[in-house]
């Protein structure tokens, strides 16, 4: 049957809550409204308002109390309503959620899942289109994953909730309505394994989250030029599947990394560094990056110029092939 990414994540939450009564959902508007993107739709009606909790409007409060709930023994799933509103929770995420296990010398477990709708492309007002992944990836102790398909939306959400470690799930909000013809539940490979979404032999496109579909469209268009692109969906940003990245680059000799986030110290920098560390002699061209610019996220009417798209990817593919 046809399932959207939002529905797949919703089902994953419901299935985890049904299986384990320690699983709680908390966040702004997640209860009665079902979330601003309806990802938590129906959970409060089904599981009650002590398991799907409408919190006061305070992001640090959401993450900080989720930490306390986890120490008590719950498995909280906290929603931060938008990427740009994850910043008020920065200290709780970085100084506590990520570090508490280490600080306690392994005594504490923090099975906290933090869901953050992220990225642009929906014409949203300021602060609703950001890509903050580098902050979390740079923070030791956090696992960071991002689904690029409805199947992954389901499987990766369940895996995150089942994990005894804090996991940030970055949900590509422009893909919430993307459909797949699947029957839930589905099982997926572990999130730490990247997935080849399309095989090719000329250039590897390394992408994740919202850019998986864009990269596939680029690969489709590239065929007309006679270029064969391999599309590698990272799925997990931390840890990063270096083996899968370098295995692909060994086959193609070329890589273009694609992400919405600004270029400097974005995932592309890390991917490029790892490729040249591990597969230097296989490279036919420098690793290139199709990314957002190093400017604040643009106003909605200009985001089309800012976000990487098929054209920007293909320009870089052409540059890569010119070496």
């Amino acid at each position: 049957m046809s399932v959207t990414l939002a529905q797949a994540i919703n089902r994953a939450l419901a299935d985890e809550m049904a299986e384990d009564e320690r699983v709680l959902v908390l966040g702004e508007d997640v209860g009665r409204l079902g979330g601003v993107f309806r990802v938590t739709d129906g959970l409060q009606a089904r599981f009650g308002d002590e398991r799907c909790i409408d919190t006061p409007l305070a992001e640090s409060g959401i993450i900080g109390t989720a930490i306390g709930l986890a120490i008590y023994g719950y498995r909280p799933v906290a929603e931060l309503q938008f990427d740009g509103f994850s910043y008020p929770a920065f200290e709780q995420l970085v100084s506590h959620l990520a570090k508490l296990r280490n600080r306690s010398r392994g005594t504490l477990r923090l099975p906290v899942t933090v869901r953050i709708p992220y990225g642009g492309g929906i014409g949203a007002v300021e602060h609703h289109s950001e890509s903050p992944e580098s902050y979390w990836v740079h923070t030791a102790g956090l696992t960071v994953v991002t689904p690029g398909t409805p199947e992954d939306g389901y499987a990766m959400t369940r895996e995150a909730i089942a994990s005894d470690d804090p996991v940030i799930v970055l949900e590509p909000k422009r893909r919430y309505w993307m459909k797949a013809d699947i029957d839930l539940p589905v099982a997926g490979p572990p999130a730490r394994e990247a997935a080849v979404r399309r095989e090719g032999h000329d250039v590897t496109i390394v992408c994740y989250g919202p850019m998986v579909r864009t990269a596939l469209e680029a690969a489709e268009a590239a065929e007309e030029q006679g270029w064969s692109l391999e599309v590698l969906d990272l799925r997990s940003l931390s840890p990063l599947d270096t083996d899968a990245i370098t295995a692909s680059v060994r086959r193609t000799g070329r890589a273009v990394v694609v992400h919405e986030a600004a270029r400097t110290l974005g995932m592309g920098a890390e991917v490029a560094a790892r490729i040249q560390e591990v597969a230097f002699y296989h490279l036919e061209a420098p690793v290139l990056r199709a990314t957002g610019f190093d400017t604040p996220y643009p106003p909605a009417k200009l985001e089309g110029y800012w976000l990487p798209d098929v054209d920007r990817i293909l320009d870089l593919v052409e540059r890569s092939l010119a070496y």
């Binding site: 002590e50 409060g61 900080g64 109390t65 508490l100 280490n102 306690s104």
Partner: protein, 390 residues
Amino acid sequence: MVDDVTGAARAKRDPTSLLPPAEPVHLLDPDGTLHEDPDHPVELDDDALVAMHRTMIITRRVDREAINLQRQGQLGVYASCLGQEAAQVASAWALGEGDWIFPSYRELGAAIVRDVDPADLLHLFRGTWLSDHDPYEHRFALLSIPIGTQVLHATGFAMGARFDRNPLVTMVYFGDGGTSEGDPHEAMTFAGVMRAPVIFFVQNNQYAISVPLSKQTAAPTLAHKAVGYGLPGYRCDGNDPLATYAVTRRAVERARDGQGPAMIEAVTYRMEAHTTSDDPSRYRSDEELATAALTDPIARLRNHLRRRDLLDDATEQRFEQEAAERARAVRDAVYEAPHGDPLELFDHVTTVPRADLAAQREELRAELQRRADEGVDEGAGEGSESGGGA
């Protein structure tokens, strides 16, 4: 949300019921005279009073030892609780066995009540690890340095207890400076709405490093802040162990009874520097310190016990001796504690081992091996040139 909203409903009808008293609750004069107050009965038998006195003496002696250890170069920094022994010991005393404490970084007294080995806590200040006690065994969470952040953890934990119908209470310690941070504000907002059984225990020790209370807030008192969250604000003389105990006990039982959270402002005074790295002579006078010393909490309870013939010379001597022994044990444990194993850095990052960390662990292991092969002292580490701190 949760069933019992009667407290909130009552407060909405009469918000003045949440207001703190004009003066902090005070039962014991510095000379030991007790003023009984039917609203704040001290339900402690004589043995408990003497035991509390003993714990405060041990706290002070171990605290002094930690300062000495810093002077001897064994600790990088230490935050003393001198002068705040009653605020900590008497408030922790008011909790039940299963109740949880969420400390900041100055709560040696509360830790000793909970039987946490001070040497385990001092790892944080020595830099050998970040903590080394089991929070579940002692119901005592990790020391927390970022100001006010632990207040949310205590609140979340208490929300969990409420959802689980578990009659436990959490108590979180923070300071006058902490009340200016955002997290305690969010925590009290959450706790009020969720009726979480958490006691927000503010030790108003008059200074946030160098900044006095008058520059910290324009609120009439810190306890007044509670009203804005729908919580009752209580105030006690934090150098009065009996008032602190009675006020805390009432708040704890009220919370356990499902009547929701409360804030307590314990008015006390930080007799030592903020930490061993601080120089208080730059911001307060000797006269001020001398005046504050007149309200010493330990002398006060001692005077009371002596008046009532509950404490004789021999017992006092025994307590001092015990305290000295505890201090010696802490000193020995700190001196003898091995510096951390560098490879352990990789062991507790996540519960599930990560391949990338395993590879980095191997890099460090190889480095250590090379150093050992070259005869370089591996303990010599180039990292810290001086033990510093806030």
